[in-house]
């Protein structure tokens, strides 16, 4: 207990020093964090690939399990031609973007869902005394390469959508596709980090964050036109998930957004992503500082 208090104190002292040294110090810590993340994930990848058959099976399993959502959409389109005014390739475009962006975040940070358990049983203490940023350690903990399954099915559906759609491609629209995946991944990633920060307070309530991660992903797989205006407003202005795919993708598809917004918001996702990352980083610091060990 005393040791942990010391570790927390040390972290706080380091943080004060952090602000004193300014940018150079922050840059150093980020690099250190990325290095720790890389080393820990490399270890987990080696351990997963050691059982090759099991790795192939679980990745295929992840692929199939995450593809079920698209199967549901296919089943719906076996009965109708349009859903909320959107044809199958258009919905597939939204689905592919949502699923791949979420897959990127899930691959990189999905392990953070387990933080609540570490807080409960006190094993987070071990991470606090190691000479590496806690965020990097928690994010890399039990890194699961099998989550590539989700990304690959998302990209597969996205590929189908792009082939089936008749889009008037401009260089701008082409560039927007990878940009959506990256900023979308960052937005979902900051939801994971904020969710983990919330778990310091909530502990057992880790399932709540599923509503925003998995729930958000599911929501974005469908066109915004089918949802109530308040819900669309909520995910545009409060929890800005609409910037993952809805706003930029509807620009690419040449479709209007259900809320009256200027055209330039379609290009805002990178900015929104940076803002989300900063906010969730802040939430993480507050959460980590509030951590008191179980004491057992």
């Amino acid at each position: 207990m005393a040791e942990t208090a010391e570790a927390v104190e040390a972290a706080e002292v380091a943080e004060v020093a952090d602000t004193a040294y300014g940018g150079a110090r922050t840059y150093g810590r980020t690099r250190e964090g990325l290095r720790a993340y890389r080393l820990i994930t490399a270890m987990w990848i080696r351990s997963a690939v050691a059982y090759r058959a099991s790795f192939v099976m679980t990745t295929l399993g992840n692929f199939t399990a995450t593809a079920l959502d698209f199967v549901a959409i296919l089943l719906m389109f076996s009965q109708v031609d349009t859903l909320g005014g959107y044809r199958l390739p258009e919905v597939a475009f939204l689905y592919g973007l949502s699923s791949s962006a979420f897959g990127l975040a899930d691959l990189a940070l999905g392990s953070m869902q387990r933080l609540g358990r570490r807080v409960r049983d006190g094993t987070l203490d071990t991470l606090l005394v190691r000479p590496a940023p806690v965020l990097a350690q928690v994010a890399a903990d039990r890194f699961a390469l099998r989550r590539l399954g989700r990304i690959s099915q998302g990209l597969g559906v996205l590929g189908y959508a792009i082939a089936a759609l008749d889009i008037d491609w401009t260089p701008l629209k082409v560039a927007m596709v990878p940009l959506m995946l990256l900023s979308g991944g960052a937005i979902f990633g900051s939801v994971f980090v904020a969710g983990a920060a919330f778990q310091f307070a909530a502990q057992d309530a880790s399932e709540v964050q599923n509503s925003f991660t998995f729930g958000g992903q599911t929501l974005l797989q469908y066109p915004p036109s089918i949802f109530a205006k308040e819900l669309v407003r909520g995910v545009t202005f409060v929890l800005p998930l609409a910037f993952v795919n809805w706003l930029p993708a509807l620009y690419v598809l040449g479709r209007p957004y259900p809320l009256d917004l200027p055209v330039w918001v379609a290009f805002a996702p990178p900015l929104v992503a940076v803002g989300c990352c900063a906010l969730s980083g802040l939430a993480w610091r507050v959460g980590l500082r509030s951590y008191r060990s179980t004491g057992s």
């Binding site: 399993g61 079920l68 859903l83 399932e207 929501l219």
Partner: protein, 266 residues
Amino acid sequence: MRTGRLYIAVATGGFRRYATYRTATLAGVFTNTVFGIILAYTYLALWHERPHLGGYDQAQALTYVWVGQALLSAVSVMGGGFEDELMERIRSGDIAIDLYRPVDLQFWWLAQDLGRAVFQLLARGAAPLAAGALLFPLALPTSPLTWLAFLIAVLLGTVVSFAIRFLVGLSAFWLLDGAGVAQIAWVTGTFCSGMLLPLNVFPGALGEVVRALPWASFIQAPADVLLGAADPLPVFARQLAWAAALLAVGRMLQSVATRRVVVQGG
């Protein structure tokens, strides 16, 4: 008589065990409600295109969404209950102690799982359904008899679900690591139970097949009884038949496993 009391005690234990985690339960209710809202809007769009799809009107389709969310954990569609523990006990060799006990392995776990299901139905079932009824116009029946029939269908669905998950658990006798089987069971359960979409919306022959499979007992059967879309007695008969058949297979597999497999020890 004494064994009856024993199984009731085991079931009560199962109930209490899950009732301990109140925050986790509340978090689960919240998540079920959020998913219910998202699904409800997709169903609204679908039934707007095709009114009376699968024989449901719009209110019935919405009710189906919320009944599905309410039953998700009670019927354990996605697994993750006792079967994980059973697999772990087989892997570690602790199963030897279970087999020494003067109680039946299958009934012990069944009693425990039913206790869990009762808690999950009360806690994680009632609350999302109430939330759904507040937010959307649902077609809930007023006759207490229909509700009673619904509860019977849920009970039978839970037994069928248990019987399948018992088989999943026993697979660890041969595979040791049951993660792959558990995942297959998860995917099949999600797809074939009617959780993705009501099974009567599935097209053509695929629809015929999934409606005949045991997983239809999980959500589709209780929902149809509640919505008055199916006659309760034939539904019960089909659920009972699947429960009996699958429990018998589990019993057979259990005796083969205990006779032929050497328990892991260390």
